[in-house]
Symmetry: C2
Subunit: 315 residues, 2 copies
């Protein structure tokens, strides 16, 4: 399992390679929310999301001769750029109906893209074959100790940056899909800033983690598509992430798609940040759910297409 | 005149108050421009532009009992927030036809707004009367040594951040209105990173600084309205800023409004930053003007309304 020592080691590996993203705030957002609101701007991380942290750390720690990943989104870009910067080949396995710009972006970052037909081909079988034939190591999107440790470095930074502005207790809100970022941050704060409680944030209708926390046992989403917050929709929390979340996190927070879009608009107006809907759910919870404690919202990603941003700006 | 010692003193005053904004980059922008491109993200500064630096420094250095400023834009917000954070009253004098949201924003930052009629009233007379009656100190937008010193702190950060990524020579492109930011950065880099040349950047039709540099003497703009880059349109360079620019800067770069809008779109897609048109002219020059040296573009502000951002995204 991931330990604070592994997160500290990850921070060493990331030093000089990942960005130490800023902790931002705006008096306008404080007034709107009626409390102090800080935003950890992971949309400014390399490739536009926190995923670069876990990918870089896993590749640095495992020292593979090459890597393979399944993803059509933020994890793909994080793995592709990390591999390229470390001089390693990367194969990204994507469904053939993935958006053309996501395929192009991943190729532009130096990865080889292998497409499969979702209706007729088995993704895992293709991954196994490619990994075996070419001696590649699979980098999982969240259920992998070194990936969780890499994401946890964002938590170390939050602990330091919050202390710099004199905040040592409150709530840390984290957009949560498979739980890699949430569990990594929770582990880092448990050790370095125990005055904070971590709360996973999800979109309405895809709140498997909030329901799991409430039930005290792992719950699944009934559907897996149809959310504009696609970047954080997964079937259920991971085998490694769920025990950490169950042990360390406070109740989940659930926001509507409209609230995520409104948070994107306010991040545009007041923070000058571009967020994707899934990356904006924690900010939405910070702004639109009552509370009096200081709150730190992680803005986990900004890979949004222009049409969706225009939709947020039209709210 | 502003000296490097004054800029260093300004950096001390700003420490812990202004943000050390990140120097960002994207492999996609490097590929597009055919050279290394870095962006100094001053849109992430408090109040969404670099103006907070000069305002904070001038107020800290001059220790007034209260301040007054003429502005309907970024300078107004920088002065208002700096004064509020230092516990001082601020009066901002704005034309009565200024956009309502700019008036509201300035008031929300704690300033008293005094409106005047551009057709019938003399702005300077009102400013003098308010200053005298109430014992306030005028904070000018650029032609003031302590304001220039404050803006120059962005140059100290550029020198350090460029060295951290191994870049010690190339071009630094700066959006230029009255020249406070350009001259401050040029003075800082002359002392701390002399391998860089500073180039002022302006929109087509409002290129008084580029023409002044070419002519070797101060030139004026023939018109002062009608640019989407309104934040950086001034009649001519300042009495204090022009001698610095004339001595230290390389040729000015001029971009079209369409190029500024395209740069805003690319900053959205690749850097996850919101820029205003005037704040995007240096990035536009970095991306769309040929060159092989590394280039650092200052993204000076992000205070753009949603309609203008939607226009940039539709390019």
């Amino acid at each position: 399992m991931t330990s604070i020592a592994m997160i500290e080691a990850a921070a060493q590996r990331l030093s000089g390679h990942a960005r130490r993203t800023p902790l931002l705030s705006s008096p306008f957002l404080d007034d709107l929310a009626g409390r102090r609101v800080f935003v950890k701007a992971e949309c400014l991380q390399h490739t536009g999301s926190f995923k670069f942290r876990g990918a870089w750390n896993a590749i640095s720690a495992l020292k593979p001769s090459g890597v393979v990943a399944f993803s059509s989104g933020n994890h793909a870009q994080g793995v592709a750029l990390s591999a390229r910067l470390q001089g390693l080949p990367a194969v990204i396995i994507m469904p053939s109906d993935a958006p053309a710009n996501k395929i192009d972006n991943t190729r532009a970052l130096g990865a080889e893209v292998v497409l499969y037909d979702r209706a007729t081909e088995d993704r895992d079988a293709i991954g196994d074959r490619v990994a075996t034939e070419r001696g590649l190591t699979l980098i999982k999107p969240f259920d992998m100790a070194e990936v969780i440790a890499g994401q946890g470095t964002a938590g170390l930074e939050i602990a330091e940056q919050a202390a710099e502005v004199g905040v040592t207790q409150g709530r840390v809100l984290v957009p949560c899909g498979g739980g890699g970022l949430t569990s990594g941050i929770a582990l880092a704060l448990e050790a370095r800033a125990p005055g904070f409680t971590v709360h996973p944030c999800e979109p309405e209708g895809f709140d498997d983690v909030a329901r799991s926390l409430k039930a005290g046992s792992l719950q699944r989403n009934t559907r897996l598509s149809g959310s504009i917050c696609d970047a954080i929709v997964t079937p259920q929390p991971g085998d490694l992430t769920w025990p950490v979340i169950a042990r360390l996190c406070g109740p989940g927070q659930v926001v509507t798609e409209d609230e995520a879009l409104r948070a994107m608009g306010l991040a545009h107006d007041r923070l000058k940040l571009v967020l994707e809907p899934g990356g904006a759910v924690a900010l939405a919870a910070a702004l639109f759910r009552p509370g009096s404690e200081p709150v730190i919202a992680v803005a986990s990603g900004g890979n949004v297409d222009r049409a969706m941003m225009a939709r947020a700006l039209a709210q």
